[in-house]
Amino acid sequence: MNTTIKKLGLLAIAGSVLGIAPAVAQKQMPPEGGPPKAFTVPATETYTLPNGLKVTLVPYGIIPKAAISLAVDAGQINEGSGRVGVASLTTDLMKEGTEKLTAQQVAEAAARMGSTLEIHAGTDQTKLGIDVLQEFAPDAVKLLADVAQHPRLPESEIDRLKNDALRQIALQNSQPQTIAVVRFRKILYVDHPYAMVVPTEADIKKLSLQDVKDFYSGNFGAQRAHLYIAGKFDGAAIKQAIAESFGGWNKGAARMENVPVLKPQHVLDLTDRPGAPQSTLIVGLPVPPSTSPDAVALGVTNALLGGSFNSRITANIREAKGYTYSPRSEISRRYHDGYWAEVADVTTQFTGPSLKEIFGEVTRMQKEPVTDPELKGIQNYLSGIFVIQNSSRGALIGQLENVDFQGLGENYLKTYVAKVNAVTSAIVQKMTQDYIKPEEMTIVVVGDKAKIADQLAPFQPSK
């Protein structure tokens, strides 16, 4: 909880912002700079073991380290009713040692390579990661393989780990931003597994070791996993280590799909937080998945609207009005699923005015096409960011994992920049009209009800 604070503190810009005024004539104009240098996404090598495990290798960079990540299609989506929270509890138990090694031995082995083994369960996937000095890369593959395939899952640790989970639930539910996301997802996803952001205490208390073992054996296996290695490593030694340590992994059960069918829920949902100096807002609605032909244009539209410094909503409610520090819009995605939302913590007394400005900016973008310089600016921004997003071993793995997970195809990264630059102002206007509809949005507010109820009244949907 505190690590995030560290990163947040004392930054000029947490979200985004924009320039409006053209430069006055007598001022100096910035120098253009030179012609752009070519950028190609680093080459990758991908192959599949006989048991179905996919492997992608990306030699990259000068930093003498290798990042290793195993993405397994096992997440919240696979929990099943009555087993909410089991995906995370399974990852916690997987850190408690293997058939051969105790938890402490695993931790010390990782430390001797300069790392710690991370395991996290998300909505759709569990990811195991280790990032080591390059000379240890083959050994790190073996350690990660052991943890993935032969976890000890000891009964002796489950009560402690469940108690840890209960503490984390209490901490998460005390954060206004978490409370807002919980409400937003519940309204949008109803009883689909994606509705769950934080399990309840009761969910955790009823989980047993058998639930964990069932979840592990039912969802972990080679054909549902993809191993990525990026950075500096000896290719031949790595391939040999992969073959030896992952070759014997069971194929496992096939992956199942459960894509939610979402309907917009036009409601205003207020959670009272007496005395809160800010209101936490999430305003949004379902949008097409990243496999949609409109996805890239929608991403450009989002960047213009609230998803960058250079965006309209941020320019308005932060830089013109001073209502908030860190407003942003985002497209939040799970497997073949997504929603657009504007998220902001605004001064309590300006809760209503903030909503008015947010909707006003969406409507303005629906009514008037963006100017060419504004569009060109955001296209340059997204093209530049794309280079940065592919310029470290960790970031590269993140990009590749997303492409494979969503099934976007091997040309996606190669053609992304061209697609961004092909978007026209007419397309942006159409995206806003077709997908970012204020009259269909869910409005979630967490704040001081006594002070904001009147301000919110105009935004209450008519029945």
Binding site: Q28, P30, Y325, N380, V387, N390
Partner: protein
């Protein structure tokens, strides 16, 4: 053993601006950092939070760039930017496609030459910064714990012990002429370093730096106030009531040895042994063996790392636990880990793991986000030590640390009388009070 040598070229312009250039051809990007020798420690005494508020004003307008045009310029050229205020510096940085290096250097030189800001700009940013303090401190559980609370409680010298994020009334009272005066006092080439990392020819970069920065006038910078802390002789314990917190927590901070001494490097390794990674001694004892908590947070410098500060600093750890556990139990468990380090030399295997973790995390810092991490190290060492090449000497300094030195360092710096403890207690609203030094 793998090694990483960073190429470094340093120079100083006639106006005193120190320049560090480090080429890296990995990707067609360039990272630019301008670090001013003005941290929040030395902000005006009646204006807590002013150094940070001022940092926001540096985005509001300069001679040739009006409000928000700086940000727009970077973004429409495909780059990212930010600024931050820390204990001993304020920095401004950009990561851009490398062909735009000239554009960015021109822009940073423009705002080093002078601010052009209005009453409206200041009022707007007072609103933004007020909201920043609310979102990060006032409207959340554990707000300011322990990153603001601990330095305030542990230190005795005002410069190290005030609320650097700022009291809202101080932030709201700031005046435009104070903004201008602050700029004139601290924002000058002879009080700054410029670092450029990335894909370019050194000669080209140097030419551009000369072209845009050499004409900026230097100023008379006031001498730094005395920032030293006396040796701590008595354990301090502070209770903080937090009406929003659902669980109690403890933060513990030990005053650090002076930078760049053998003991300082030993403390860097002690941080690795105690806090970093699943094998760390505190995690093994408090999480694995005793189940008191699920994680140990902390480290040296809660607003950065052990390299990017200059003045007094704490090695800190914080732990959230359950109401059924007593604070003394948690502190007792911490002592059970620390005391053996003070009474006998650490075993070689534990020290070796600490060393390899440290080297690994140092490489991560260097590779962080498009050259940002390397730029930050070079800038810190240039600003504080006038020696950015220290970046290539760090591993050997840590390698010199012996088990005996670790013990000696622990004896002096991990003394209970050298520490400050904050006990955060969940509390009903009316019992709430800010952390106070006892």
């Amino acid at each position: 053993m793998t090694d990483l040598r960073i190429p470094i070229e340093t120079s100083t312009l006639s106006n005193g601006l120190r320049v560090v250039i480090s080429p890296d051809r990995t990707a067609p990007i360039a990272t630019v950092g301008v670090y001013y020798n003005i941290g929040f420690r030395i902000e005006p005494k009646d204006r807590t939070g002013f150094a940070h508020l001022f940092e926001h004003m540096m985005f509001q307008g300069s001679k040739n760039l009006g409000k928000m045009e700086f940000i727009k310029l970077i973004q429409t050229n495909g780059g990212i930017l930010n600024g931050s205020t820390r204990f001993d510096f304020t920095n401004y940085f950009e990561v851009v496609p490398s062909n735009k290096l000239e554009t960015i250097l021109w822009a940073e030189a423009d705002r080093m030459s002078g601010l052009a800001v209005t009453e409206d700009n200041l009022k707007n940013q007072q609103g933004v910064v007020g909201n920043e303090v609310k979102v990060n401190v006032l409207n959340r559980p554990y707000g300011g714990f322990p990153w603001i609370d601990l330095p305030m409680a542990a230190n005795t010298n005002w410069y190290n012990a005030h609320n650097f994020y700022g009291d809202l009334t101080d932030i709201e009272s700031a005046k435009l002429d104070e903004v201008k005066q602050f700029f004139d006092t601290y924002y000058a080439p002879n009080n700054a370093v410029l670092v450029i990392v990335g894909d370019f020819e050194n000669a080209d970069a140097k030419k551009l730096v000369e072209k845009y920065f050499a004409g900026i006038k230097s100023t008379q910078v006031p001498p730094q106030p005395d920032l030293t802390e006396p040796r701590q002789e008595k354990e301090k314990i502070v209770v903080k009531k937090d009406p929003l917190a659902p669980r109690p927590a403890i933060a513990i901070g030990y005053q650090m040895p002076e930078r760049n001494t053998p003991e300082y490097y030993a403390m860097g390794l002690l941080e690795q042994m105690l806090i970093e990674g699943d094998d760390s001694l505190l995690r093994q004892e408090l999480v694995q063996k005793r189940g008191l908590t699920d994680s140990i947070e902390g480290g040296i410098n809660m607003l950065g790392n052990m390299f990017n500060y200059k003045g007094p600093m704490l090695l800190a750890a914080d732990i959230t636990y359950d109401p059924t556990t007593k604070a003394e139990t948690v502190i007792g468990a911490i002592d059970a880990v620390i005391e053996p380090l003070r009474t006998k030399p650490v075993d070689q295997k534990t020290l070796d793991r600490a060393r390899v973790k440290l080297r690994s995390s140092l490489y991560d810092t260097m590779g962080e986000f498009g050259g940002f991490g390397l730029m930050d190290l070079l800038a810190s060492f240039a600003l504080f030590d006038d020696n950015p090449a220290r970046v290539n000497d760090l591993v050997s300094q840590f390698n010199k640390v012996t088990p005996e030195l670790v013990q000696k360092t622990a004896q002096e710096y991990l003394r209970s009388t050298n520490r400050t403890i904050i006990e955060l207690q969940p509390a009903p609203k009316d019992a709430a009070a800010p952390a106070k030094n006892q």
